[in-house]
Symmetry: C2
Amino acid sequence: MKLLEDRIKEDGIVLEGNVLKVNSFLNHQIDPDLMAAIGQEFAKLFKDQGITRILTVESSGIAPAIMVGYALHVPVVFARKKKSSTLNEAVYSAEVFSYTKNVLNTISVDQKFLTASDKVLIIDDFLANGQAVLGLIEICRQAKADIVGAGIVVEKSFQKGADLIKKAGVHLESLARIEAFVDGQVKFVEE
Amino acid sequence: MKLLEDRIKEDGIVLEGNVLKVNSFLNHQIDPDLMAAIGQEFAKLFKDQGITRILTVESSGIAPAIMVGYALHVPVVFARKKKSSTLNEAVYSAEVFSYTKNVLNTISVDQKFLTASDKVLIIDDFLANGQAVLGLIEICRQAKADIVGAGIVVEKSFQKGADLIKKAGVHLESLARIEAFVDGQVKFVEE
C-alpha cells in the first residue's frame, strides 16, 4: 500500500536492533485518516468472504481494527491482555510472549463474542515474531470459528511471524512488508 | 444521545455494586457504526473550536477517540498505562488510580505529541470517579496545551467524576448520563 509505505519512509524512525518506531502515526499518536484508508484496503482485500467479526488485541491493534470493522460494518472484538475484574466469565484464552517487552501475557476473549458460526478476520498493527497473531488464531480455534485471514499493517518480513502464520494455514495480507533496514533506511519487499 | 441511550437500555447489563456492563458494544466487543455516530456527535458538540489533537488513554478510549479524530481530521494520541520499552523518551505523565481494578497506574504521553500550541479534546469511554480524565488533564497542563473540553461516552452522574472535571475548569459533554440504577434498569438524567 503505497500511501502507507510513503508514510513509513517519511515518519518512521529506525532504531538500533532492527526496531522501527512508527509511534507518530500508528501506535501512540494515530492518524485516523490513514487508519480509514487502511480499513478500506483490508475491506477490499478480504471482500465477499462473509466476514462476521474482526478480532484484534489491545492496544495498538484497536485503531486499524475499528476502521476495518467500519468499512465492513461488522463488530470488532479486542482480546484483553490479562483477565480483568470485568472479564471473569467464560473466556477463550492463549498465552502470548512479547519479545519486545520480554513478558508473557494471557490474552482472552469473552466466549459470548466469538462463536462457531463466525467468519473472523484477524487484524494487528505489527507482525514480527507472530506471537500475538498466533494467540488470536488459537483463540479462534477454541471457539471453532472460521478464520478468513489475518491482516497486518506493518510486517517485518525478515522475522519469523509471517512464516508461522502461513504454516498455521491462515491467509496473510500485510499492507507494508519490510525486507530489511539498510543504513537506517527502510527497504520494502518488492512485489 | 438517543441512539446510545437506546443501545445501553437494550444491551447494557446492570450488575451488583452499580456496575454497568457494556462490553457487547463499547469496551470489549465494539460496534464501529455506533462509534462513528459517536464521533460525529462529539465533532458537532465541539465544532469551530480549532481542535488540533484528540487525547485518550488505552485501551477502551481508543475506539471512540479514533472516530472523533476521523470526524475532525486531527491526530489522536492515546496515553499509555505504563512506561514501555518503546516509550523511554521524554514523557508527560500522571498517576491514575483505578477503583475498578484497585491499582495505581502511571499514564504517559511522549512530549513530541502534545505541545503548548495544541487545542486538545479529551475523549474517554466511561466517567465514574474521574481519575483517568483528571490524569489526562494533568498531562495537558504539563504540556501547557489548551484543553477545549472532555467528551465522555457514558457518564455515571451519581459518582464524583463529573463534578471533579467541572471543578478543574474543563467543559464536559457526556453522551449518556446515568442518574441511577433502579431494579436492574438504567435511569438516565432527564435533560
